[in-house]
Amino acid sequence: MFIQQLINGLILGSTYALIALGYTMVYGIIELINFAHGEIYMFGAFVGLILVTVFKVPFILAFLLAMAAGALLGITVEYLAYRPLRQSSRLAALISAIGASIFLSNLALLIMGAQPYTFPSPFDATVYRTSLFVISKVEIIVLASSILLMIALTLFVQRTKVGKAMRATAQDKDTASLMGININRIITITFAIGSALGAAAGVMVGVYFRTVTPTMGLMPGLKGFVAAVIGGIGNIPGAMFGGIALGIAEVMGAAYISSQYRDAVAFALLIIVLLLKPSGLLGRTAQEKV
């Protein structure tokens, strides 16, 4: 049973990781807790759903289009709600983000209604059974795609010029602009990528859990944020590990302590992790230079 629970945690964790990746991306660059990320995730799921069910678009295409739509929405939100606050405190931007999040989820409610929609699964329901555990094809795809995205994203940020420019922008915008970096463009790209990932997560998780609702972004958005922080702010592999840590903590909490205290146990474990590693699992622990 332990192995099965571990796998359960791993899969649940990778759904969090999918969300956390986009989260941490934006978070790492402009140090903004992009509260609306959960709504972009929801939006992506809806776009994917509508394309597949109403327009009968093939899944892969719908997936890509949803990512594009997510990117577009992310850019719009950034432009309207965050850019005007670029020079202000992080908290002001946080409140603006909360406002944007409330706005978007209620807009979706108005348009789509409150009933959950069912996402038709594009994958067959194959289940692989071993003596120790059971895993389905969708689960493998979810896990694999989160790992792939993490690797791709890490390489992008660490190795490419744009990625480095993102990190530079994250650390000091003025100085970055003195290097010839177009700050607005970099931030736009960041939001585009982060939001596309958010939308991708929405579609993946929508397919995996089968339902799409206007409020589906809230909890996962929160968990994505938690995962991103647990992993170390702005750290892409960290987001992945943070997500998985959260998933496993939840599952183990439910399995071995009490399902009634599932989230409580998960949070308690994570707080303990933070106390041991105050800047996240993979965060830099370098001593502050005085």
Partner: protein, 288 residues
């Protein structure tokens, strides 16, 4: 005479003012990002309601019990987590808030998911006004003292504060304790007004609401907390006239308000992008 609805709004404004001012002490003055304030509120609410129900304590005593109960947990919980900084602290407080909520959801004593019923209605507008004045009085006294300076020093630069001989762990804990005390007071008033308690109203979104009040009003400003609490209590009610569009507009209002006055209504304007909260909330600058 004002009607019950407006009376209720006034009372809620008062309670929210207490919540916002006490969070302001933690966030605005000491610079600690806490998003678990609702948990302290619930501790105070349940604490005071339980002593009223089980021991029949007089109202004032039960309020005090609730507040002390919250303060006690504020300190116990705060002590280990206050080592954390910035968003890491935020996550820890968020997590603790959720833990408190889930515990209440499962405790027999507090009625679990069904909630706690039959709390006598004791809170009146007069009590609320007195409690607000009391809170503001005590908090401003603290802020205008050596302790308040220590709080602000920690907010501005913890390293430098350490160098002034300020034991930042002690003061952060103290600040959480005091903040939790008043949050608990607000919770007690709330419980004895609503006559019913259920953990689900003390979740993460409630904490976020408190946060919005403080930021909207202006960090580190007592009046700001009051104004923020008033606006965010009244706005959703005013918007009831637009039914379907209510929260849609509410969200847009939050965005617009921040656009117009990013420093909060009564906050100080920023100097060249250096936010009110000094280094801490600014994007990382090189520390030379």
């Amino acid at each position: 005479m004002i009607g019950p609805y407006y009376l209720q709004l006034l009372i809620l404004i008062g309670i929210n003012t207490i919540m916002a001012t006490s969070l302001n002490l933690i966030l605005g003055y000491t610079g600690q990002l806490s998003i678990g304030h609702a948990a302290f509120m619930s501790l105070g609410a349940y604490g005071s309601a339980l002593v009223t129900l089980h021991f029949g304590f007089p109202f004032l005593v039960s309020l005090l019990c609730g507040a002390l109960f919250a303060a006690f947990f504020g300190i116990i919980i705060g002590l280990p987590t206050l080592r954390l900084k910035g968003d890491y602290l935020a996550i820890a407080t968020l997590g603790l808030g959720e833990i408190v909520r889930i515990v209440f959801l499962n405790l027999e004593l507090t009625g679990g998911a069904v909630g706690l019923r039959g709390i006598p209605k004791k809170t009146t507008l007069l009590w609320v006004v007195l409690a607000v004045l009391f809170t503001v009085f005590i908090l401003s006294r603290i802020i205008r003292s050596r302790i308040g300076r220590a709080f602000i020093a920690i907010r501005e630069d913890e390293t430098a504060a350490d160098s002034m001989g300020i034991n930042s762990t002690y003061y952060k804990t103290l600040c959480f304790g005091v903040g939790a005390f008043f949050a608990g007071l607000g919770g007690g008033l709330f419980a004895h007004y609503m006559r019913y308690l259920n953990p689900n109203s003390f979740g993460f979104m409630r904490s976020i609401e408190h946060l919005c009040m403080v930021v909207l009003g202006g960090l580190g400003n007592m009046w700001g907390a009051f104004i923020g609490a008033t606006i965010l209590t009244v706005t959703p009610e005013l918007l009831r006239t637009v039914a379907d569009l209510r929260l849609l507009i509410y969200g847009a209002v939050l965005v617009l308000m921040m656009r117009v006055r990013p420093q909060g209504l009564l906050g100080q304007p920023l100097r060249n992008g250096i936010p009110l909260l000094g280094r801490f909330f600014q994007q990382a600058r090189p520390k030379l």
